[in-house]
């Protein structure tokens, strides 16, 4: 059955401010300010909604906000993480393009909830072509009186500024992003302390993904409890997925959590696999998510189901892969490309990751040159991972090991 792709977020797509307002845009913000809904109440609604971060880690958004100290005298920041760099991911791009006002409204509400007077959009340099669009949107929202001094005559003032990165995948990690904004190289920080208490320049800061923030006006509009009825428990709401790879119809689709399987995503949204290709499997959440094989695709797309299978929804990037005609060897190329990515993007702060990602790349070379068996490679990588796991400032090195190990194990027959 063909599932609707216009559920919550896509329904609010509008790249014209008057049209957005006509669709009910900014009514959530208006309601909050005119009915004097307190920040605490909004945090409570977001908690009730069960909303989890759409950037990768899936942390509960309301909970994250609640860690910010309430003391009004302390300066706070909200940062919108628009640095989606996980290979295969492009769904935030569509929000920036087609729903900038929804995002901006979400940012204003989130800032009101945590008490931030200034917020930033950390835009990846690869999206520089979206910069003017966003600046214009911010200007228009300000002209309409939803941004700036004393918004809608309330005592809440807010400004949004854009900060563009300079090319580094690791800056999508929230503490590396903060370092980068402070004018430094993007080294992830050791945690704790978490940004909610010690963030940008030491001030309490919330870093939220684009899609996460775009959900906020919707949650305020429907109420947290009603929002939580969409999807399934622990995976509420909808999800934007970026579908790419060997399917016929690539693109950004919206699915209800827990209601659509990966197979349906490929067939109903992607119109199936392209002619002449053999489907091998799917990377369900960007290259940091271990792959699923062809036989495992009857699985519902939600946080829990994928976690049970040892993988994740991650960044929402669904990459369908396989090989053309009889070129089975392509599979190793795919894995090589993934490990190449990790080895290049390891920021170099932690020795196990910096060295480990190179070592894994070397192991793949050996497999390619038939110097070792696939099985030996699996063992070598898993022993490497025991020296990476838990010893690094962020999950990058560990993901590299887990993903390459899973690939080799699951596709051993094809690779040997």
């Amino acid at each position: 059955m063909k599932k609707s792709e216009f559920l919550l977020i896509k329904k609010k797509y509008s790249d014209n401010i008057d049209d957005y307002i006509e669709k009910g845009g900014f009514s959530s913000l208006r309601k909050i300010l005119s009915d004097h809904i307190s920040p605490e109440e909004i945090i409570e609604e977001v908690k009730k909604s069960g909303l989890r971060g759409r950037g990768g880690a899936g942390f509960y958004t309301g909970l994250k906000w609640s860690f910010v100290p309430r003391d009004r005298s302390i300066k706070k920041f909200l940062i919108c993480n628009a640095d989606e760099g996980e290979p295969g991911t492009f769904k935030d791009r569509d929000i920036l393009l087609y729903a900038p006002y929804l995002l901006i409204e979400g940012m204003i509400i989130a800032s009101y909830a945590i008490g931030a007077e200034v917020s930033y959009i950390y835009l990846r340099k690869e999206y520089k072509w979206l910069l003017n669009r966003l600046e214009k949107a911010i200007g228009e929202v300000q002209e309409k009186g939803f941004l700036g001094e004393k918004i809608l005559k309330s005592d809440f003032s807010h400004r949004i500024k854009i900060f563009m990165g300079a090319g580094a995948y690791i800056c999508g990690e929230e503490t590396a992003l903060l370092e980068s904004m402070e004018g430094k190289k993007g080294f992830p920080r050791l945690k704790p302390p978490y940004p909610a208490t010690f963030g940008l320049f030491g001030y309490p800061t919330v870093v939220n993904n684009v899609e996460t923030l775009a959900n906020i006006p919707i949650i305020v509009e429907m109420g947290g409890e009603n929002y939580a009825k969409i999807g399934i428990p622990k995976s509420t709401g909808t999800r934007l997925i970026a579908l790419s790879g060997i399917v016929k119809k690539k693109g950004v689709y919206e699915v209800e959590h827990g209601k659509v399987t990966l197979k349906e995503i490929i067939n109903d949204f992607g119109n199936g696999v392209k002619e002449g290709y053999h489907l091998l499997g799917v990377i369900p959440g960007g290259v940091s998510a271990p792959p699923l094989t062809y036989d495992e695709l009857d699985i519902s797309y939600d946080f829990e189901s994928l976690a049970e299978k040892g993988t994740m929804t991650g960044s929402g990037a669904v990459i369908v892969f396989g090989y053309k005609e009889d070129k089975k060897g392509e599979l190793l190329k795919i894995l090589e490309s993934i490990v190449h990515f990790f080895k290049d993007e390891s920021c170099g702060k932690c020795t196990p990751c910096r060295e480990g990602t190179w070592a894994i790349y070397g192991i793949l070379e050996k497999i390619k040159n038939k110097e070792i068996l696939v099985r030996d490679g699996v063992e070598m990588i898993s022993s490497l991972n025991s020296k990476i796991k838990g010893l690094c400032a962020c999950p990058l090195g560990e993901s590299c090991a887990l993903v390459s190990e899973a690939f080799l194990k699951k596709f051993e027959d094809i690779l040997k």
Binding site: P87, E126, A168, S244, I319
Partner: protein, 150 residues
């Protein structure tokens, strides 16, 4: 009106950036580096001195920061740059063949090309960025067209 020399122009742009970020010079560093990179094609030594002096940030710190990021460079590229994605979704659509072609024809190109990781255009794979503008569904024909236009 007196026209600004390029150096005065950069200086005034730096001051504008600092003002945009409310006088926060640390926050202004990467935006300033981006601006110079985009205006001059690279970040030369004299500029680093100038930034250090205006932002009051140690020169070594500026080097440390700028060498970390892919899109900030110390070397001048004589030509405009096409970044070609070698990420997984582009690879699945033949990015490796495009990259091969570009490598083989490097001498004949009127632009420079560099490989990069995913640029968020995977639904238009194989994809690239030319002067940071999207180039979708790259193929040899498109590359030839681009080469003629440049």
């Amino acid at each position: 009106m007196k026209s600004l020399s390029s150096s005065d122009n950069i200086r005034s742009k730096i001051l504008e950036i600092i003002e945009y970020y409310n006088g926060n010079t640390a926050l202004s560093l990467i935006p300033v580096l981006n601006m110079i990179q985009d205006t001059e094609g690279y970040i030369k030594k004299e500029r680093i001195k100038e930034i250090a002096e205006i932002l009051k940030i140690n020169e070594n710190r500026i080097y440390e920061t700028l060498t970390f990021y892919h899109f900030l460079t110390l070397d001048k590229s004589e030509k405009r740059i096409l970044y070609v994605c070698r990420g997984i979704s582009c690879l699945l659509e033949g990015a490796d063949e495009i990259i091969e072609y570009l490598k083989d024809n490097r001498d004949r190109l009127n632009f420079d090309f560099r490989e990069c990781e995913c640029i968020g255009l995977c639904d238009f794979a194989p994809a690239g960025l030319f002067d940071f503008n999207p180039v979708k569904n790259l193929d040899v024909k498109k590359i030839k067209e681009l080469n003629e236009k440049v």
